[in-house]
Symmetry: none
Subunit: 162 residues, 4 copies
């Protein structure tokens, strides 16, 4: 058993050694520090507002970067918050704007069936850096759609102040 | 083969022994006795009503706790009943209330695409304990939406009478 | 809104009316009473054995019929118990027998990738009626594989005693 | 449209008002503060160790509570870290212990096909509170399996020091 473990270990070391010469993350992508700053700001704003929410931040590749579920918030909002963040980055727009044209008869009705399910009501917005580039997105779920959208928008801008 | 099984048996016993000092279930979560009481009451009420349904109870973590499919009820209602129970717990509200704002043009239209599929018509309700805390949820599927909702609501309250 | 509800109601009534002339369930399939009898017996035997398990019963069509998660049993065993029951009915054999030939190099290695995932270690067994026909299956998860198998086998036979 | 939104806003407020009298989270479950403390400690330990990882914390119901992906860590480790945390809570044991009996020929070989996929190599461990109860689990992915396990274990204990 020890030998087997050793083999795994060696392979894992090999994999890890890639990091040394090939930076995984693109220059300019959202950093863990920025993502945590945004999550903590959304947490603070939600407490101030008296609402409990789920907070998800994805990177420029629409992959989960940081997440926090506030105490007593909806269990169902875990997935909604993550899908809002992904939807906002998938189409580089606030989820509420996508929802306006995803209604029955709308131009992109049924787009919600793509990408393992989209959420197209307000609460997800792109995250911009100071140069105006989209570097990720944030999704908030748990309050009213207006609260979710406002908290997401305000929290996403905290990185511009630093 | 017997020897191999014996070795793994010993390890499995080790795993089981964790239960001894670390209760898996949080104090205050719905118990198996409560879940069965609710399922049996829903079964009784459905028979009295002359309708055949699927009955699902989930715990506070939205995980399946007890289930019964009555004879001659819809096969398709297995998943509907489970999803109704989960939906009610995910958002701490009767599924019919969620459905009201999940219509086209509604605030949370398309939320049904989250969480591997939600059911947002009546028949799922949270289960409250005598202190007013939500400890799980019940989903009923097989009758009309009014019957499903009424049976779910009445059955969920049987634990308050004991 | 009232009118919309009325329409749903009418459609649901139409669906329900099928039951009147077309019994959904095949004659000879496991009944809800039998399934509950088996689940309760497995519950009783597990308590006697001092082990906490998840108990799943499926019908002749391999669809969930009854389920119970005992207090403090593994959350991960919900799906394992259901998959054991389904696997036993899918191939009309105890899951442990299937597992013997599903090992690397075995005749049906990788069969576990079919049917949305099979569980091929002991704990699932077919349920026979007094005429020797398979009418469903039971899956137990939470104890050692020997305990799970023994409880499943003993509980499945309770319906022969009535 | 504004009017419609207003109506649904009112209903959404109604939903939110449920939180007022029915605490969503069971007393004794892991809190957001505890989860963030653990994530931050895992982040700190990983930096000290010179390794970049994904960090996931789930609650007692195996639902995601907090998450962080360190810069330059594997994209593929997002799901591995989350599945490690869930697996550890599903079976109340370190993932590496589960993996020992999930090898070919082992007692629970193929269990990894349950629960939408388990991860059964080291890096996931239960989180205990000071009374010895399991209140959640942590999963680490990105280093060697030994590093992942050690960081997970050490980080999970930070809440005992407060």
């Amino acid at each position: 058993m020890k030998l087997v473990y050793f083999n795994f270990f060696a392979t894992a070391m090999l994999l890890s050694s890639f990091i040394g010469y090939a930076q995984e993350q693109l220059p300019g992508d959202i950093t863990a520090d920025q993502a945590q700053l945004i999550v903590n700001e959304a947490n603070r704003l939600s407490k101030k507002e008296g609402v409990v929410v789920n907070i998800a931040v994805v990177d420029a590749g629409a992959n989960l970067k940081s997440f926090l579920r506030m105490d007593n918030s909806y269990l169902g909002s875990i997935d909604v918050a993550i899908k809002k963040a992904k939807t906002a980055r998938y189409f580089n727009a606030p989820t509420g704007e996508i929802g306006k044209i995803a209604q029955p008869g709308g131009a992109i009705y049924h787009i919600e069936h793509s990408n393992d399910g989209l959420i197209t009501f307000p609460g997800g917005v792109p995250i911009y850096n100071s140069a105006g580039y989209i570097i990720g997105a944030i999704g908030i779920s748990g309050g009213t759609i207006e609260q979710d959208h406002d908290i997401a928008t305000a929290a996403s801008k905290i990185i511009l102040k630093k």
